[in-house]
């Protein structure tokens, strides 16, 4: 993670802001972080007020400042773009939160916990945001987390070279210090798991377990040593297995299969762990790669090789991976995603030596989630009401990736806020 702005640089950047009426940047932030207001506050030297605005609107204000794809959110909407280039909103946001930490200013004060018990399943950005909002409203919140530590993808997905552990810990600590209980290594599983929570006295549940089951290529040789999913690879980097993955890739030739953000993180991660060469194998062309433009360029600049129009068809090796057989593709007509469909070219097989293959295709809900309760699903996502994120059970709400499919941190935050408000209304007998 690079250095952030200084107060002088942030102030200079804020001076470029046009202080728009009904600021388009604010309208474009899914979580309502309200950059139009916090930049104006910085502009008028109201630095504490700017920090308060961010932290009030977004408990993951720092994280979002660091990882949001601002180029297609607030900064895309920025009026200043029509003059030269957008205000660096993400950087200002990150700076302001760090400045608050540096000077010891914490705008969010603990509320007295005196209302009903609410259970939250999953401690990703959706779950923790919902937890904070409910705790500030006086609810007695318990977050159940399967893994060793809280954070979800912020901890076990996004690598530390993009999001520092120190900042993440601090932002999570700010939430737990408000009287939120987080029970780690406590998965909620099994048949009627949610009903059991109800029996324990929880009046409402927010489901935010994300998508943790990696989709696999399923080609021949997938069981060879050295073939693994990006979920496992990136996750292991953050646990006691960190040295195992390091040994796995150091001085090796690594293939990362896929063209999304996760593939870029896995590729750059492998490179940083000392891989000799990292190849991204992607079946469509550069423009169809779903990773952010910034990430693709970063990967290329890190010396990662892009093999586009390449479809792996077989892993081979004795016990461990030795090579991958691939086929060239070309682009046909657009598919459901609107991107042109890759068509394999018969007879174009070629074999490349590889020691490791990391599959970064997609992730799906854990199958066990379906038995937790009798909820309505839409294929791979839980169905909720758009208005209040309520599931087919009135006391169960859901949000984040489990509802949206692979989405963004800032959208998970938005869902957490929305659900907290709906749950409070539900429990206070308002609304429906």
């Amino acid at each position: 993670m690079g250095e952030g702005l200084t107060l002088t640089l942030a102030t200079e950047e804020a001076a470029r802001c046009l202080l728009c009426f009904d600021a388009p940047c604010s309208q474009a932030c899914p979580a309502g972080t309200d950059p139009g207001s916090f930049i104006r506050k910085l502009h008028f030297r109201n630095v504490t007020g700017a920090i308060r605005t961010i932290k009030k609107n977004n408990p993951f204000g720092w994280t979002c400042g660091v990882v949001c794809p601002t180029a297609r959110l607030c900064e895309l909407a920025c009026s200043r773009t029509a003059i030269d280039k957008p205000i660096q909103i993400g950087k200002i946001q990150r700076f302001l939160v760090e400045h608050g930490w540096a000077v010891g200013f914490s705008p969010i004060k603990k509320a007295e916990i005196k209302k009903d018990k609410v259970a939250i399943i999953g401690s990703g950005p959706a779950g923790l945001t919902c937890a904070r909002e409910l705790a500030l409203n006086g609810y007695d919140v318990t977050v159940f987390e399967k893994k060793e530590k809280a954070g979800g993808n912020l901890r076990y997905g996004i690598p530390t070279f993009r999001l520092s552990e120190k900042g993440l810990d601090r932002e999570i600590e700010e939430i737990t210090s408000l009287g939120v209980t987080v029970k780690t290594e406590t998965p909620i599983e099994g048949k009627d798991g949610l009903t059991k929570l109800k029996e324990e006295g929880f009046k409402a549940v927010f489901l935010s377990p994300g998508l943790w089951s990696p989709v696999r290529l399923g080609i021949e040789g997938s069981d060879l040593n050295g073939v693994l999913s990006a979920t496992d690879f990136l996750g292991a980097m953050r646990t006691h297995e960190a040295s195992d993955v390091e040994n796995l890739v150091r001085d090796k030739v690594v293939a990362v299969i896929g063209g999304g953000s996760v593939a870029m993180d896995a590729a750059m991660g492998a490179k940083k762990l000392g891989a000799k060469d990292v190849y991204v194998l992607y079946r469509r062309s550069y423009t169809e790669m779903p990773a952010e433009e910034k990430e693709k360029i970063q990967a290329l600049n890190d010396g990662i090789h892009f093999f586009i129009l390449t479809q792996p068809v077989k892993y081979s090796g004795k016990g461990s991976l030795e090579s991958i057989v691939c086929r060239r593709t070309r682009l046909g007509d657009p598919d459901d995603s609107g991107r042109r469909r890759p068509e394999e070219i018969q007879g174009s097989e070629f074999e490349m030596p590889f020691d490791v293959a990391i599959e970064a295709l997609a992730t799906e809900p854990d199958t066990g989630l379906r038995e937790l309760a009798d909820l309505t699903w839409d294929n791979k996502t839980i169905t909720v009401s758009d208005a209040n994120l309520q599931t087919s059970l009135p006391w169960v709400y859901a949000g984040g990736d489990i509802v949206r499919g692979p989405a963004l941190v800032v959208e998970a935050v938005a869902d957490g806020k929305k659900a907290a408000e709906a749950i409070a209304q539900h429990l206070e007998g308002k609304g429906e």
């Binding site: 001076a15 046009l18 009426f21 003059i83």
Partner: protein
């Protein structure tokens, strides 16, 4: 490059650009570098006799920033020169020997009538081409000096007369802006025999207060003070004094313009309002001597463009256009005219028209564009000053007989 030379009280300047008396003109080594960079003359850092020991407070400067715009103003508590008088006189001699064509003006300040005489003579003997009498420093730590003199008009006349009797070189009196009407002391200086006026010295001010220690800055070991303020922020005030003195037929003296000059445009504005030389300090404290290169080139190109052949043709050219407000033709009215093709939809015009203008604009939220109701426009033009798209909102005169709609009073 055009010939930029100009005659100022019979002294020939190769160009109108001078260092004003301050740290930028503290010694010969510095001034020589300024001359090499292109400055035509110098008002040497104010000399005093050594009867009173001069010690500068520390620290001696403070900045005034506006948002990210740095040093739009500068406050100082510096005193007159703290170097031994004979060192300064030696430096003046050296400069005149090595730069005979450059003009050295000795700025002096006496703390008694006798001292004014001694300093004037010594400067003339050292070879100074002119004298500048410093009646205007607003923060002298010595009783009865600086702007205290400039505010006691009879002393201005007395000291000028003393100096004029002592020397034969031209004498210029430097005015403080910390008064109501600069024509008054300027007339006293004229009656004392002054050949020219220079203005302005610094404006008495406080720039900043430490929010933790509550001490104004510069914080001189726990104490702040009202003291001299200079730089771009004082230029409009200086221009006002230029115009008022240059338009005074009784005064009729050449003027050396000072205050906030940084660019050739600033220079030009002083010339147009009647200055025939200009002096700079804060611009140099901010950017160094090199700024003179752009002043020379800019002024020369402007003269070429507008067909001026000498700087003196420019002097006072805008004065006939400076009127009293009661001379305005109020029967002619207009409105702001928007060319929305280039509008980027920031809505700043709407905010300020609502809160500070005539509520002539409404907001089309869907298209993010202002919608104008001309009949409510005050023609304040505030919107045109904040619109980030250059040159998009213009003034348009309305036909005779057009009436602006005032806001209706509230129903009680």
């Amino acid at each position: 490059m055009k010939d930029l030379s100009i005659d100022f009280c019979g002294v020939k300047f190769m160009n109108p650009f001078m260092l004003s008396s301050s740290p930028v003109s503290n010694c010969a080594e510095m001034i020589a570098r300024a001359f090499d960079a292109g400055w035509g003359g110098v008002a040497y850092k104010t000399l005093a006799t050594q009867m009173t020991k001069i010690i500068h407070p520390s620290p001696r400067l403070n900045k005034y920033n506006n948002q990210a715009c740095r040093m739009v103003g500068l406050q100082n508590v510096e005193q007159v020169s703290d170097r031994p008088l004979e060192h300064n006189l030696k430096d003046i001699k050296w400069l005149k020997k090595n730069y005979p064509k450059h003009i050295v003006v000795a700025s002096i300040m006496g703390f008694s009538n006798k001292e004014w005489e001694i300093l004037a003579k010594a400067s003339e003997d050292a070879g100074a081409d002119m004298l500048e009498l410093n009646f205007s420093c607003p923060h002298m730590a010595i009783e009865g000096s600086g702007s205290k003199v400039g505010q006691a008009f009879d002393l201005v006349e007395l000291f000028t007369e003393t100096v004029k009797k002592a020397v034969s070189i031209p004498v210029m009196a430097k005015m403080t802006p910390n008064i109501t009407d600069m024509n008054e002391p300027a007339m006293y200086a004229k009656n004392g025999g002054a050949d020219a006026i220079s203005a302005i010295n610094t404006v008495a001010a406080i720039t900043e207060i430490g929010l933790d220690d509550l001490i104004p800055k510069p914080n001189v070991f726990g104490k702040g003070a009202v003291s001299g303020y200079s730089g771009p922020c004082v230029k409009p005030i200086a221009l006002r004094f230029m115009a008022e003195m240059a338009q005074n037929p009784e005064l009729g003296l050449p003027i050396s313009g000072i205050g906030g000059i940084e660019t050739w445009i600033d220079v030009l504005e002083f010339l147009l309002l009647g200055a025939s030389t200009i002096q700079v300090t804060t611009g140099i404290i901010h950017y160094g001597y090199r700024i003179v290169e752009d002043m020379m080139e800019g002024l020369s190109d402007y003269m070429e463009d507008k067909g001026f052949n000498s700087v003196s043709e420019i002097v006072g050219k805008a004065l006939p256009n400076v009127h009293h407000t009661d001379e305005f033709d109020l029967s002619r009215q207009g409105v702001a005219e928007y060319d929305l093709d280039r509008c980027i939809g920031c809505g700043q015009c709407y905010i300020i028209c609502q809160d500070a203008g005539g509520q002539a604009l409404s907001w089309d939220a869907e298209n993010r564009r202002p919608v104008m109701d001309e009949d409510r426009c005050l023609s304040c033009m505030a919107c045109s000053f904040i619109c980030p798209v250059e040159d998009m909102i213009h003034y348009k005169e309305m036909p005779k007989g057009w009436v602006r709609h005032d806001p209706e009073p509230m129903e009680i």
